[in-house]
């Protein structure tokens, strides 16, 4: 049994704003959310990349202590966007707790801030030869830092009793959340799925990419000018924080209850390169894109817009441009949304899906921020360098991760 799956609500906390209006304003005005890296008295002084996509505005959380006690910052983002999506969807309380709604949500490795506290205690105890210091590790530290902490803090807060899927596949975490949520509804396992991802401010992630020489360092004095997807001067990615959530529902169920249908998820594909865990792989990505089109039962020319993964690394952008050219030619517009905020890690698939939905709703395509001079090795596809006012019907959202994991989501406007 294959059922149609639609998106009925979405919300994001991003470096360029929280909620639809602020995010749209940033997209339309070309405002960057990349800021100077904060001093953390641990790693920041060793890191060469001094920029970070930062959520630097206050968020009015209203979580009771019984929920807060197991929540790290990534779970705050997750629960806030989940709350907004539940409210926006209008799903009744008895449905939310019925078991017919599941959650697919993740972060790249739980809460690194909590893990940092644990290690600080542990190594401090070793250094001080203090046998009792380990006792100060909190009873809830595991619950705050486990890889599915975002998903189960959501289920706890809202009493959700359906299935839980918690991918922890780095940069494809939340595109997998949406993809596996889509499959759960499509094949009748759940009537609805709350899907997304979140990651908190964390310099460990920056240090990892910095050591791999994958981080941007040339724009430390002008953070807003990086990352630069597909640009000749791009010099690497910018790590960022944030959270995004979408509500997926079975089409007939959503229609019957009069839900506001934003778009339909018409396809999803995920594969692996079957080899190197870091290097981008043209064949692997090309296969992903073809599998996605096959799954959606559409042709390449049906796609109007591609939200590229485009992290602004030297090789990643070239390989992605080649794969797009292989499969789509130069027909669809291609935008690299990370130009606005950097790489929100586990959240990027959901945030880029949500931004794509906003553009679909508003009938415009935002340019790739900081794409001033297209690298000739990426020039074979149709880049967006200024705002294009045009209806968008079908969108492909592409994401790729360490470990050789590739995903594509296909979204279509409901006419």
């Amino acid at each position: 049994m294959e059922r149609r799956v639609v998106i009925t609500a979405c919300s994001a906390i991003t470096p360029i704003g929280h909620g639809r209006d602020r995010i749209l304003e940033s997209l339309l005005k070309g405002i960057s959310g990349v800021k100077p890296l904060k001093e953390d008295e641990l790693l920041s002084r060793f890191i060469h990349s001094k920029v970070y996509g930062t959520v630097d505005y206050p968020i009015d959380y209203d979580f009771k202590r019984q929920f807060r006690k197991t929540m790290a910052p990534c779970a705050y983002y997750a629960c806030q966007v989940a709350k907004e999506v539940l409210e926006q969807s209008g799903l009744p309380q008895d449905f939310i707790t019925s078991g017919k709604l599941g959650v697919a949500f993740g972060s790249i490795h739980g809460s690194p801030l909590t893990q940092r506290d644990i290690y600080r205690t542990f190594f401090g105890a070793l250094a001080d030869k203090d046998d009792k210091a380990y006792k100060t590790i909190g009873a809830v530290d595991y619950l705050k830092s486990m890889v599915h902490t975002t998903a189960v803090n959501i289920t706890k807060m809202f009493g959700i009793t359906g299935r839980v899927i918690s991918s922890g596949t780095a940069c494809t975490t939340s595109s997998q959340s949406i993809g596996y949520g889509y499959e759960s509804v499509k094949f009748g396992m759940q009537e609805a799925m709350l899907c997304g991802g979140a990651d908190e401010y964390d310099t460990i992630t920056v240090a990892v990419f910095d050591n791999l020489l994958a981080c941007s360092t040339a724009f430390n004095d002008e953070p807003h000018r990086t990352p630069r997807p597909f640009d000749k001067l791009r010099d690497g990615l910018v790590v960022a924080e944030g959270g995004g959530a979408v509500m997926l529902e079975e089409y007939e169920f959503a229609k019957k209850r009069g839900a506001n249908i934003i778009a339909e998820v018409i396809g999803f594909a995920c594969n692996n390169n079957g080899g190197d865990l870091i290097l981008p792989n043209l064949q692997g990505i090309t296969n992903t894109l073809k599998l996605g089109l096959e799954n959606a039962k559409i042709n390449p020319e049906d796609v109007d817009l591609i939200s590229a993964h485009a992290t602004a690394t030297k090789m990643g952008d070239i390989i992605e441009a080649q794969a797009i050219a292989n499969v789509f030619g130069n027909n669809p517009y291609v935008v690299g949304l990370k130009g606005y905020m950097g790489h929100t890690m586990a959240a990027c698939g959901s945030i880029e899906t949500i931004l794509s939905l906003y553009m679909m709703q508003e009938g415009f395509i935002a340019p790739t921020l900081n794409l001033e001079e297209v690298d000739e090795r990426c020039a074979m596809i149709k880049h967006v360098q200024k705002i294009i006012q045009q209806p968008v019907k079908t969108i492909a959202v592409q994401n790729f991760a360490f470990g050789g994991v590739n995903t594509i989501l296909l979204l279509r406007k409901i006419s």
């Binding site: 019984q66 006690k69 006792k135």
Partner: protein, 90 residues
Amino acid sequence: MTRQEIEGEILSIFRREFEVENPGMDDNLREAYGFDSIDAIELLLGIEKLLGFDLTQEEKKQAMDIRTINQICDYIERIAQARAAAAGKK
């Protein structure tokens, strides 16, 4: 430590750590304030600080049936007396 001092310390822990203001001394903490097993473990850490010594695993297990503030205070008195008695025998 007098019973009154123990009560004052425990109420202070509840206010500071668990955001529970002026609980009834015989309120069921789980039912009234959502006090759960995670909170109980955190409370035991607070009790160890209050008593100035580590609780044994056996002593901690005795705390798992506690439901009210009064029972917490009884528990602390009982542990303190048992330890004092054990120390007196040595």
